[in-house]
Amino acid sequence: MKKGILIILLLTGVGAGCVNQIEYSSLGKARDTAVPESNQSGTTSNENVTISFSIADKSLVLNQPVVLDFEALNSSVTDLVLDLGYRRKENFVFRLVLPNGKEISIPRLEFERSGYGGSGIMAVRPKQNYSQRLVLDEWTNFSSTGKYILKAGLVGQANYAGNKSEPGIEYQEIRFTIGPANKEVLRNVCANLLNEIRDSKSFDKKNEAANALLYVADPIAIEFLRHALVAEPMVEASVINALRKRGGKESVDVLIGAIEEKPHSEMSDVARSALSWIERKSEDVPLKKRIRLILRDYQL
């Protein structure tokens, strides 16, 4: 990492108290940001570089996605070149202290090296910032209630002051709590994410919100995914992919609805593909039969 560069990482739980409070800037919307004069909790910094993690709402509920906001602040006068890894995710590394006190190392994400895009090389302009939202559920499940300690780091970003538990990686600790499941909280989480999908001006930001929505591990999210699919064509691929992964009757209902609404659209193409995937994976015979009928009826 170049000397004279500042990076900040933020970890944010998605909840009623945090959504819409953080401005996710694309590079084009980056705004000058004052450099903190001193380290804060969850922050490491050198002369011009700071890395920090934070959770705005430290009290989450079960099945609520745990979202990491990554922010890089470049206080230097030169571009900051940042390698976040393939698809801007592979270079993030995490360790997790579970509620039972056991510390686990979370495997890094690995994607198939195929397809368009996915470069993790980001350039942050001088005196500007870059922020990104990561859903930690993409890395691991948070299936227990209790107090967690997340240790987050970035491979290859080694030149910062901080705790070094592995060579070249500096982990920062973020503490948060997952409480019992609460439908009302999850409903608010989903509603806020749907608003973000609708209202955000950035393509990336819309998809980040959609990605968070798909990790709401509760059937309550299905209805919001349906609304997202209708409201914002730019998240079609993300939402349908989410429904494919989720599977089950509710997801199939949404996918069939999408096909029926616009049978000659790209959304229909992708929805059919997702349905075929679910059909092959599912062991629910009536569901498989229903999908086959739909695919036959809408075979183009």
Partner: protein, 805 residues
């Protein structure tokens, strides 16, 4: 105002500084009295607004003729309280000796009992005392000399004719004083039964052959308002090769035992702060001692200290302990005197000083926060013809001391809040500073108004002279007006724009003290559908139209307020008049008696004024930015059978990164359709049926940077199990933007084929080839072994999702 002593004898140069901090010219009527008390009324002198001037007292003494070589001064003016600062400088440049005396305001002090203590630099030092009778009646003054630990001389009575000045060497007037002056700590007590303002006195300590000059500060124990002293700006760090010794002495002038605690808070050159806790000193009544300062020396040797101050507290009643402090170079030629101030008796969170730079000297300003709260302060430096240098509002941490070197600001061409500098030809002017309340403090938290203390020092390292100057303004600066920056035309929706708000202040005499960015501004937009604005004044244009941007905030104001008006006369249990300050409590500072005087009832009333300004902001729709010139960068790269293309693009608004970043709302990517299938949801063999390849495959990202982006065509999942096959997919690169054609897709490149094939090249030997746009990549050989595993130079079993045929 009265000054106790001037002299032109023995090569001494005497000058009078008159500093006008107000906005009007001040007429000053001077009277000088000869040492014998002969009066000479002089023509008035004028001091222009916000300026200072020096009077050579030789000129005035010459008018008086013989007998006026020494004497005292009285000044009259009709300006507001504290608007005029006056100080006498006595200088013997040849001996590097200098003394200063701030003129006292008649009616603001009680001289019936005066106490002082000082440290003797050596047995050879001379001590000269001046006693001046400021009244029209004769005055008898009783003096008692003291030495460490608590010995006192016989009383000595000095008879002073009206307006006369008696200047004498202690050795000449106090029998047996020789032994006293051999002590390292000496004290002098004065008492008289004249009027409260009858006596002004100074003690001068000097060694002509060393260039050592110091003076002792008198105080009346009855004027004490707290049991603490502050010394602002203590020179303990080295200057060049010169090392400094600190001298701190204390005397108990009260009836009870007392324990003195002294701390030296300091700031290192790296900005961090520390503290030196000196050993406590136990003083019985009448006892005097020097404080062990070895810890200061040790700390200076081990750390890089930039600036320090003194904080002293004692356990007995307010005013019952007096403390003197100074530091001197090892050769005793350079002496830094440090006035020790009872900040409760002289609350002064603002100040106005002259500054001047000649060839070798400069003015340093010290400001110290003597509370446990972080505060803000402002500094305004002015010079002739209206020039000014405005330091932005800054924070000063609890117990922190800051130093402003005006010469350094000028020579470094440091920029002020608006980018201006102090011209190199400017050599003098005025400096005003003021505390600014933190917005987080409650309005009625009056103690927050009284947190800072200040002092200026004129330092000449070549001539090895140092002069100190302290002069408070009556009240803190007040905000009187504000404005915002206006939009100079319509802005495009989505384009960044920031409003700024500025606040203008004046000192308590009405003189301007600069315009700075305002704090705590409430920004609003009358039409959020056109533009929104955040707490920092950042505007986000939403849609076409006009909106009214309004900024408002509360500015602090201060005005003189006499809290004693209509207050009944009260007497304390000791029979003394209970004036305003007498009722104050140490831990809660007096309710803004910010007058800088002693015994005055004057105070300042804190209020707020509503400041606002507004602008009409027009927002126009931003031109639609969409991707153009989507193109391949360089040839495709074959890496172990993975064929990678790189693509870049521009924006319709331009090719720079800034313009391409405007594509943040656009979706840019690929769609790949796998053909030849009678059912789109089952990609045909040899494509891996269980691999998560949706058909079509859609990959997208934001159109904003970074550029270029790769497109990798891998082999995973295609070749297992190996047998001859060929498969073609159709790819398009495409984009869409919400602002362009109702978010419809546009093709950048394509459609074109991506063909993957596996052919047999021998027994159980295969070759994999991928081809696109004239480029191809191969893996060869792929070996299908007897145990039904695959091997090749590039492929491991793990990369292949093997599936039973």
């Amino acid at each position: 105002m009265v000054g106790s002593y001037y002299t032109l004898e023995d090569g001494i140069e005497a000058k009078l500084l008159l500093n006008n901090k107000g906005i009007s010219r001040i007429e000053v009527i001077p009277i000088i009295y000869s040492a014998a008390g002969q009066e000479l009324l002089l023509p008035p002198v004028f001091v222009e607004a916000q300026s200072f001037r020096f009077i050579d007292l030789q000129d005035w003494a010459s008018i008086g003729g013989p007998g006026f070589e020494s004497g005292n001064i009285k000044l009259f003016h009709l300006g507001k309280d504290l608007v005029l600062g006056a100080q006498i400088y006595l200088t013997d440049e040849a001996q590097s000796i200098t003394f200063e005396e701030k003129l006292a305001e008649i009616g603001e002090f009680d001289s019936q009992r005066l106490e002082t203590v000082w440290s003797m630099p050596s047995n050879n030092a001379q001590v000269r005392v001046t006693l001046t009778n400021t009244t029209d009646a004769p005055l008898d003054v009783t003096g008692i000399l003291g030495k460490k630990p608590n010995q006192t001389s016989d009383p000595r009575i000095f008879s002073l004719a009206p307006h006369s000045t008696r200047a004498f060497d202690i050795r000449d007037e106090f029998p047996g004083s020789f032994s006293f002056l051999k002590s390292e700590v000496v004290a002098l007590s004065l008492e008289h039964c004249g009027s409260a303002n009858a006596l002004v006195s100074q003690v001068y300590i000097y060694e002509k052959n060393k260039g050592y000059s110091n003076f002792a500060q008198f105080s009346n124990p009855a004027d004490g308002k707290s049991s603490e002293y502050q010394g602002v700006g203590f020179q303990i760090e080295d200057i060049g090769n010169q090392k400094f010794n600190a001298g701190i002495v204390a005397r108990n002038v009260g009836p009870d035992n007392s324990v003195v605690t002294i701390n030296i808070p300091y700031t290192r050159t790296d900005g961090t702060r520390g503290n030196i806790a000196l050993p406590t000193v136990h003083l019985s009544p009448g006892e005097m001692r020097s404080v062990n300062t070895n810890k200061i020396i040790q700390r200076v040797r081990s750390e890089s200290i930039q600036i320090a101050s003194i904080e002293a507290t004692y356990t007995s009643a307010p005013g019952t302990v007096i403390i003197a402090a100074h530091s001197n170079s090892n050769d005793r030629n350079q002496v830094f005197r440090l006035p020790m101030t009872d900040s409760f008796a002289f609350p002064s969170s603002t100040g106005g000083y002259p500054w001047f730079i000649d060839n070798t000297s400069s003015t340093h300003i010290y400001i110290k926060n003597d509370t446990d709260l972080e505060e803000d302060y402002t500094v305004y430096i002015s010079w002739e013809n209206g020039g000014s240098f405005v330091v932005p509002r800054k924070s000063i941490a609890a117990r922190e001391t800051i130093r402003i070197d005006v010469k350094k600001l000028r020579d470094d061409q440091t920029q002020d809040v608006s980018g201006g500098t102090i011209p190199s030809w400017v050599s003098g002017g005025q400096l005003q500073w003021s505390l600014r309340r933190k917005d987080t403090l409650l309005d009625d938290d009056q103690s927050a108004n009284l947190s800072l203390m200040g002092r200026s020092e004129q330092i000449d390292l070549t001539k090895q002279t140092v002069r100190s100057y302290v002069c408070a303004n009556y009240c803190l600066d007040s905000a009187i007006a504000g404005r915002i920056t206006y939009s100079e035309g319509p802005i495009e929706a989505g384009s960044p724009f920031q409003y700024h708000a500025f606040e203008s202040t004046v000192n308590s005499f009405g003189a301007p003290t600069g315009e700075r960015p305002a704090f705590g501004v409430n920004w609003t937009s009358s039409n959020p559908s056109v533009a929104t604005i955040d707490y920092d004044g950042y505007v986000e244009g939403i849609g076409s139209g006009s909106t009214y941007i309004n900024a408002s905030w509360n500015g602090d104001t201060y005005e003189p307020f006499d809290s004693c008006i209509n207050r009944p006369v009260e007497f304390n249990s000791d029979g003394k008049l209970n004036n305003c300050q007498a009722s104050t409590v140490k831990q809660s500072k007096p309710v803004s008696p910010n007058d800088g005087g002693s015994g005055s009832c004057g105070s300042c009333r804190h209020g707020q004024t509503y400041i606002y300004d507004a602008d009409t902001l027009n927002v126009t729709a931003a031109p639609c930015a969409y991707p153009v010139n989507f193109r391949q960068v360089g040839p495709a790269i074959d890496s172990n059978g993975v064929l990678t293309f790189y693509y870049t693009w521009d924006s319709s608004t331009g090719t720079s990164d800034t313009e391409v970043d405007k594509l943040f709302a656009c979706e840019l990517g690929e769609r790949v359709d796998y053909s030849g299938s009678q059912n789109v949801y089952y990609p045909p063999l040899p494509f891996n049926q269980l691999a998560p390849h949706p058909n079509p495959t859609i990959l997208s990202h934001s159109g904003a940077n970074p550029r270029p982006q790769p497109d990798r065509h891998g082999n995973g999942g295609f070749m297992a199990p190996p047998f001859e096959a060929s498969y073609t997919a159709t790819q398009i690169y495409r984009w869409r933007c919400p602002c362009k054609d109702n978010n419809q897709w546009h093709i950048s490149i394509g459609p074109h084929d991506i063909t993957r094939s596996v052919i047999a090249t021998g027994f159980d030997l295969y070759k994999y080839t991928i081809t696109k746009l004239g480029y191809s990549a191969t893996i060869e050989p792929i070996v299908f072994s007897q145990n039904r595993t695959l091997s090749s130079p590039q492929i491991t079993q793990d990369t292949l999702r093997s599936t039973a045929p």
